[in-house]
């Protein structure tokens, strides 16, 4: 569903992503784990077109999106939940969700959104900025799902969120993986959450993937050691 080939990304002169390869199939949750500053956000931003890559290619559903601006990539089927959520604070919850439709190919609001996020249904007319952090995170995910993407990118969705909401988010991700058969790529530092949802684990260190294991091969002790350094 998404295919990344030899991707390099730099900030000015300093290269941060050094030739990343990644292929993820539909209906698969791929977790990318790595410590602070290892390049997770940079990788996601370049997949989304928020920053340019210096070389390499990105394909979504067979279409090369490497040169496209963000909004065109959304039309090709990538949706993005950035680190720090980045909802539109002065728009209402409902208006935030409508912005998600901008990238939708059908243009219709998916009926299951409010079933997945009942808390948002109660707060439709509230301003996004007045929601709690956990509610904002759910709104950011719902906004991305409103576009009915083929590939969903989530950058540290559990950062600063209480355990009960983390559990809800895990359930939602598993549900949409199964009901919509989409590819989910999620970066994380919280091991318990990641282990609950992943089908496959990638470890990123210094802008390179240093491990790639399917769910049943993941050695939790080893990963914990890697993240703890």
């Amino acid at each position: 569903m998404i295919e990344v080939n030899d991707l390099h990304v730099s900030y000015g002169q300093s290269e941060v992503i050094h030739g990343v390869n990644l292929e993820a199939k539909e209906g698969q949750i791929v977790a990318i784990m790595g410590r602070n500053g290892m390049g997770k956000t940079t990788l996601f931003k370049s997949l989304m077109g928020v920053i340019r890559s210096t070389s390499g290619s990105i394909k979504v559903g067979g279409v090369d999106v490497t040169k496209m601006p963000s909004y065109k990539r959304v039309k090709q089927g990538i949706a993005y939940v950035p680190q720090g959520r980045m909802i539109f604070p002065s728009l209402t919850v409902w208006e935030n969700l409508l912005t998600g439709l901008e990238g939708s190919r059908t243009g219709k609001f998916p009926t299951d959104i409010f079933t997945l996020f009942p808390v948002l249904a109660e707060m439709k007319t509230r301003r996004g900025g007045n929601l709690s952090g956990g509610q904002q995170q759910q709104l950011a995910i719902a906004r991305a799902l409103a576009a009915e993407p083929k590939v969903l990118l989530l950058d540290e969705p559990t950062e600063g969120i209480q355990p009960s909401v983390i559990k809800d988010i895990a359930q939602v991700l598993l549900k949409v993986r199964d009901s919509r058969r989409i590819t989910i790529i999620v970066s994380e530092q919280v091991l318990s959450f990641t282990m609950e949802i992943l089908d496959r684990l990638l470890v990123i260190e210094g802008g390179r993937f240093t491990a790639d294991e399917p769910r049943d091969k993941v050695d939790v002790g080893e990963v914990r050691r890697l993240l703890a350094v």
């Binding site: 909004y71 949706a79 539109f88 998600g100 990238g103």
Partner: protein, 304 residues
Amino acid sequence: MSLNEVGSMIAMQGFSGLSLFTVLLLMALGLAIIFGQMGVINMAHGEFMAIGAYVVYLFSQLTQNYAPGLREVYFVPAVVAAFFVAGAVGYVVEMLLIRRLYKRPLDTLLATWGLSLAMQQFFRSFINPKEVSAELPEWLLGAFNPTPSIQVPRNGIFVMGLTILVSAGVYLLMLKSRWGIRIRATTQNRVMSSAVGINTDRVDRFTFALGCGIAGLAGAAFTTIGSTGPTSGSLYIVDTFLVVVFGGAANLIGTIASAFSIAQAQSLLEFFLTSAMAKVLTLMTIIVILMIRPQGLFTNKLRT
């Protein structure tokens, strides 16, 4: 002067202030929309107003020469055309000029200032170096008298109605339409807007065109109270900046209140003093108020 006469005078001066108010408000609305959306201060905004006024003038000329029978009806389509012509010119200007300068606010200032000079020269060379006036239909001329000593000019009522219509339209567009959501989302977070699938370049172009179109409407309204020359727009641009700065760029109510107080103050003072003195007094009052309440100023917002 009896007390009654003073009352009538204030009322009538107040009504003439209303016409100025509506023109200033429409101008400020367009300027503030563009500034709020993309941090561009459009120094050529006054010339877009002139475009609107010239469109009405051209319509009036064409009607007079080719279809004098339509004199009573040409005005309304002319107002609509003023909006679309000014908007279309704005659209092209955004595409050729503004778009390339977004990350350089000072260059934008300079470029739009140059554009305003070029447009003035264009008016001088291709339309008329002297002031021109549109031939107004009968129903815009004269006044009616609610009391024997007060006369309310009809053109004032017309521009008032036009302004209310436009303000309501802008309000609905911004708060109730998908375009409004796109515009507000882009204003708040340009990068994220693109990442949810909004074509932010198109939103910019549309917004710039909309702001220029509203300036064109201001120009159309202006034809009912004055004659138009190549530099008419630039005479209004300073007052418009005053309105926006005084009211705060971000909110509609502030813009309305500030356009109202500036226009009324000037028109009432003009009755007692020369118009230059009226301007000086208004300006000084605004400076004093801004010293006490600086949040009326532009918020420092740049593109990220």
